[in-house]
Amino acid sequence: MSTNTSSTPNPSPDSCADGVLLRVKHETVYRYPGPASLAYNAAWLEPLSGDGQMRIEHRLKVDPKPQFQNLRTDAFGNQMHYFEVHKPHSALKVVSEAIVERRPRPHNGACAAPWERARYAAASDPAERAALCSFAYPDASIPIIDEVIDYTLVSFQKGRALNEAVKDFAARIYRDFKYTSGATQVDTSVTEFWELRKGVCQDFANLAVLGLRAIGLAAAYVSGYVLTHPPEGEKKRQGADASHAWFAVHAPGYGWIHVDPTNNMWVAKEHIIVAIGRNYTDVPPLKGVCYGGGQQQPEVAVTVDIIKREDLFHGHSMERL
């Protein structure tokens, strides 16, 4: 099926029974062309607990030190940090450090049921519909929607097991689109990506989400990280030096099945889930408004590595990064 045989998805995440400790340091620096007087920011940088992941530690450092900080849970259950900087400053540096334990949940029978049963329209419980509704509808104004439906249905043949179909869908996106750093911007539309046939992890995830919703499934955009140095003998993952993104599809009776189409793999021991939303703008790692300043591309550095359990209990585990 896939021509990239070296990166065929691992058979299923259910082979990952042991927990793995992952540590991330994510540094973002905005250097403004001019001085900024006041800055207001929101950050989705704190990894969530759930979906086979446990947040053990998280720390957010902002320089200059904010005059006000506040943490709340957003509409999707993610942790959102809000902070204000009142002093004049010419650069804003945000460092997020976290340790999570990954213990991926094995797929159950629900994941292998015919995909049609996972369709939103099949959900009859109002509470479940309320929980999934936000993720169920594609943006119908997207001009290529019909092409995307046809493209998606190639993987979703009638009666096919959901996880199998999803695996195939991810593999086809991986094969048909080229990961090219810098080919697209934060605000590049799915349509542009569809025509360009190249882009970054965000574009891969957007396309998958659109296709899945268009055939009636509930699908989410997921922001997170992937291991910087992969296991011995495997090639370096795409998106490893920056914040990463993928998609999740909802299986009733299981929950979100996370899939990384950019690397053509299940989200398992090598990923850290930060936040789940409808799209990128629900969960950008960092967004802000400041007075003065001026537009500037940020410098971003991400390191993700595996740590041993002993390191954790010796304390200061994050300082050693």
Binding site: Y40, Q67, E84, A130, A140, G288
Partner: protein, 831 residues
């Protein structure tokens, strides 16, 4: 007219002369199906029977005149008349009986209560979604549902409104609910003042339920939202500004309620609290009455492209550190798709039946309803769930439009509703000088705390522009009316006796930094224009002399004068400007620094502080604007001097009125500072320019012209006779403390004004006072004898003036820097 209107005791009315015939198809408010006047309309029916067409024409003119005097505007987008279009008020009110009104009042109270509960639930536990009372698509797929407000402290809808219409069977139906920041309540107040006054002259007088009580309750409910209930709350009204269609109402309400009118950049968020930028410091805001749509209120959390909001405002509300009326996040409740679910929601939250029925509405997000709408497209109104999008009238669609609409509905059914086309009732309306039936929609208002609501007696009635349409909005050319609720028992005195005795005090309105800046520049623009007009007038007189007699000395004088004129605004031409050139200079509003340009700037500044002006002041602003428009229209037929004098008169009238009506601590200070500073600068600049031009050929004439341009020629003559030596010229124009137009006079008037800005006078002078002293002292010590001839003028006076000019400019910059808190441009990023 009698206050007692009990129908049974009244003899039947002879209506044979009544010049009014209702439509056959609709319920008429005044006349029953048999043509008889309903009891509560009898007084009007009688009045209509005896009034002449001339009287009706007079009634219309009286109404228009009163509205113009008040400067009541309604901004119609894309209207060439722009901001200045007078609000269309019909002087004939809609009259309601208590029997009609009582169920509406109870229904509005229930709806306001219900919507408050629904909002708190949807931004919180969402029980109505989880229990299947409301389909989740209706909320979660609504483009206006602001997820970032979820989990925030529940706030009530402080002000709620609903649009109602009466169907052919006589019962009232709700067409739409308004939960964001319903507009119209201020217009009702204005409509009442005008309508009562013009009609009382015509002996139509009823006992009408008064409005004051409602605004008292509104203010009380809003004040109760303040997080800290111990201190007097500071309340502001947040408006999108002068571009908004109902900006007049924002300014009017702010003035009526005695609160501060603000725009987004007047506010700033710190530690999740909201502060107002005043000329003194940051002052904490306790409650915001919000008239900016919620999605535009916070560029960090909602629409990043909004220029109307305040970054962090969503956090401030979510943290409960500011009261918000109405709360952010409540906009989507206005979705017409909510209507069919209200009966079930009412049972779910209140365990009550819904009291006021909705006009039949089918939400296409449901299969059966979708089918119904698609099959009956021709007989329905089709609306999108977000109100800023589309409205289609089925009967008016072409086949192609219908097919296109069908496809759109099928692609995203949850975005559409179909609504029954109700035939609205009609009410007598003054059209030209006739009384004709027009369809009406009544907007009712309720103010409350989330549970208990006080309803405005009456409301805003709007009627369609012609008899065959049901569109009543101001944007589509509809007219507004007052609504008179007749009290069958009790006189107005009873109601007034309830009036507020222990209303909680709120902090008085403060002057925002932006308002101070607007006033400062308003005065500068006007003063500059005055000076420019005098310069042009002096120039034109001399020019006409030159044209008539051709003396070379006149030409030399004109050339010497030119730099002083051009200091205001570059002419951009070679040689002497002609009268026609100067006309351009006066009337071309695209010419930077010209008269029309300055006046437009002044008028714009006046609009942004609309809430501060008294009626007389505002009339003066409008006269100035009317004069400007009139002159622009008639530029080809009017002579230049026909422009100059009226402009001078109008702007002096405004300066005078504004100075009289604005107390120093309410903004008058900034007006006067601007005016004095500008006058001093103009005198300095023009004198300095002319000093440089003086030579043997032109000096005598130019000196005279300089005095004339500063309105000092006659006062100089009275004092010194007809001779005009250098010595008396400089003394009179620059150094004479008793000449109100002298430089030293203008500068010395700054001194007492600045002392108001000194918070601790016992500790010495503030920087600005020192600036002025440094300018004033050399002026007071100077001796005009030292500038007694042409040479001394050039060697001694010119550098002296140069130095003063620099100091005065710096003083102006210091004021701006210190008191006007310029917002820097916003940078947004997402990564």
């Amino acid at each position: 007219m009698s206050e007692n209107i009990a129908p049974s005791t009244q003899p039947s009315l002879d209506l044979t002369g009544l010049p009014y015939s209702p439509l056959a198809t609709a319920f008429d408010e005044m006349l029953g199906s048999g043509g008889e006047a309903r009891p509560h309309w009898r007084a009007f029916a009688e009045y209509f029977s005896r009034v002449s067409r001339d009287d009706l024409g007079q009634l219309r003119r009286d109404t228009l005149r009163r509205l113009k005097e008040q400067g009541v505007n309604y901004h119609v987008y894309d209207d060439p008349q722009g901001m200045r279009r007078t609000w269309q008020l019909d002087p004939l009110p809609m009259v309601m009986s208590e029997a009609d009104w009582n169920p509406i009042e109870a229904g509005l109270q229930q709806r306001a209560h219900l919507y408050s509960r629904v909002l708190a639930d949807l931004l919180g536990p969402q029980t109505c979604l989880k229990q299947g009372v409301l389909p989740p698509e209706l909320v979660l797929q609504h483009p206006g549902f602001l997820r970032s407000m979820m989990g925030s402290a529940a706030l009530p809808l402080s002000l709620f409104a609903a649009d109602l219409a009466r169907g052919p069977d006589g019962s009232w139906w709700v067409l739409a609910d308004r939960t964001q920041g319903p507009s119209g309540a201020g217009y009702v107040l204005e409509a009442r003042m005008v309508t009562k006054r013009v009609l009382s002259q015509n002996a139509v007088d009823y006992a009408i339920a008064p409005l004051a009580q409602f605004f008292y309750h509104f203010k009380r409910h809003v004040a109760a939202l303040a997080p800290d209930q111990q201190k007097e709350p500071t309340i502001v009204l947040l408006s999108p500004g002068i571009g908004n269609e109902v900006y007049f109402e924002h300014a009017y309400l702010a003035a009526q309620l005695g609160i501060t009118l603000v725009q987004g950049d007047d506010l700033t968020v710190r530690q999740g609290k909201v502060y107002l930028k005043t000329v003194d410091d940051l002052q904490q805001v306790d409650v915001i009455i919000r008239r900016v749509d919620d999605a535009f209120c916070d560029p960090l959390n909602f629409r990043a492209d909004s220029m109307l909001g305040v970054p962090g405002l969503a956090q401030a509300q979510a943290l409960g550190r500011v009261g918000m009326a109405n709360p952010l996040g409540g906009g989507f409740l206005e979705s017409p798709a909510m209507l069919p679910f209200l009966p079930a929601l009412s049972k779910h939250f209140l365990a009550e039946e819904l009291k006021l029925p909705n006009v039949a509405t089918w939400w296409c997000g449901q299969e059966k309803e979708l089918k119904h709408v698609l099959q009956n497209l021709d007989d329905l109104v089709i609306k999108t769930v977000d109100r800023h999008a589309l409205v289609c009238f089925g009967p008016k669609m072409s086949a192609r439009e219908r097919d296109a609409l069908k496809r759109r509905i099928q692609a995203e059914p949850w975005r559409y509703v179909g609504q029954e086309l109700l035939s609205f009732s009609t009410t007598p309306t003054l059209v030209g000088s006739e009384i004709q039936p027009r369809h009406l929609v009544l907007r009712g208002f309720a103010a409350g705390d989330g549970e208990q609501y006080d309803v405005m007696p009456g409301g805003l009635t709007r009627v369609s522009p012609d008899a065959h349409t049901f569109l009543v909005s101001g944007q589509s050319g509809g007219w507004s009316k007052d609504t008179w609720l007749l009290k069958s028992s009790g006189s107005m005195r009873d109601v007034l006796r309830l009036s507020p005795t222990k209303q909680r005090r709120i902090a008085s309105a403060v002057l925002t930094s932006r308002a101070a800046e607007s006033l400062f520049w308003l005065a500068r623009y006007l003063e500059r224009t005055e000076s420019l007009l005098r310069h042009i007038r002096a120039y034109v007189r001399r020019l006409e002399n030159y044209i008539d007699y051709g003396f070379d000395t006149d030409k030399a004088v004109l050339e010497g004068m030119l730099p002083a004129v051009e200091a205001f605004c570059a002419l951009g031409r070679e040689g002497l400007p002609t009268v026609e050139d100067l006309k351009q200079y006066v009337l071309d509003s695209t010419r930077v620094g010209g008269v029309a340009f300055n006046l437009r700037g002044a008028i714009n500044s006046a609009y942004t502080v609309r809430d501060l002006w008294s009626g007389d002041c505002w009339r003066a602003v409008e006269e100035l604007e009317e004069l400007l428009e009139y002159s622009e229209k008639n530029r080809s037929v009017l002579a230049l001097d026909q422009f100059i004098q009226p402009f001078l008169t109008a702007l002096l009238a405004f300066l005078g009125a504004s100075q009289e009506s604005l107390a120093l601590n309410q903004g008058g200070l900034w007006l006067q500072l601007g005016r004095r500073l500008e006058r001093a600068q103009n005198t300095l600049s023009s004198t300095h320019k002319i000093c440089a031009e003086l030579n043997e050929d032109n000096e005598a004439g130019l000196r005279e012209m300089l005095l004339e341009a500063h309105d000092c020629l006659s006062s100089h003559r009275r004092r010194y006779g007809t001779e005009l030596p250098f010595y008396t010229l400089w003394k009179h124009l620059l150094l004479e403390p008793t000449n109100p137009r002298s430089l030293v006079y203008a500068v010395s008037e700054l001194e007492p004004l600045l002392s108001y800005l000194n918070p601790t006078p016992q500790q010495g002078l503030i920087g600005l006072e020192k600036n002025v002293l440094a300018i004033l002292t050399p002026l007071r010590l100077a001796d005009a004898v030292e500038w007694r001839d042409l040479e001394l003028t050039q060697t001694e006076l010119a550098p002296f003036l140069q130095n003063l000019t620099q100091q005065l400019n710096q003083f102006g910059l210091n004021i701006e820097h210190q008191y006007f808190k310029h917002a820097q441009p916003l940078t947004r990023f997402m990564r």
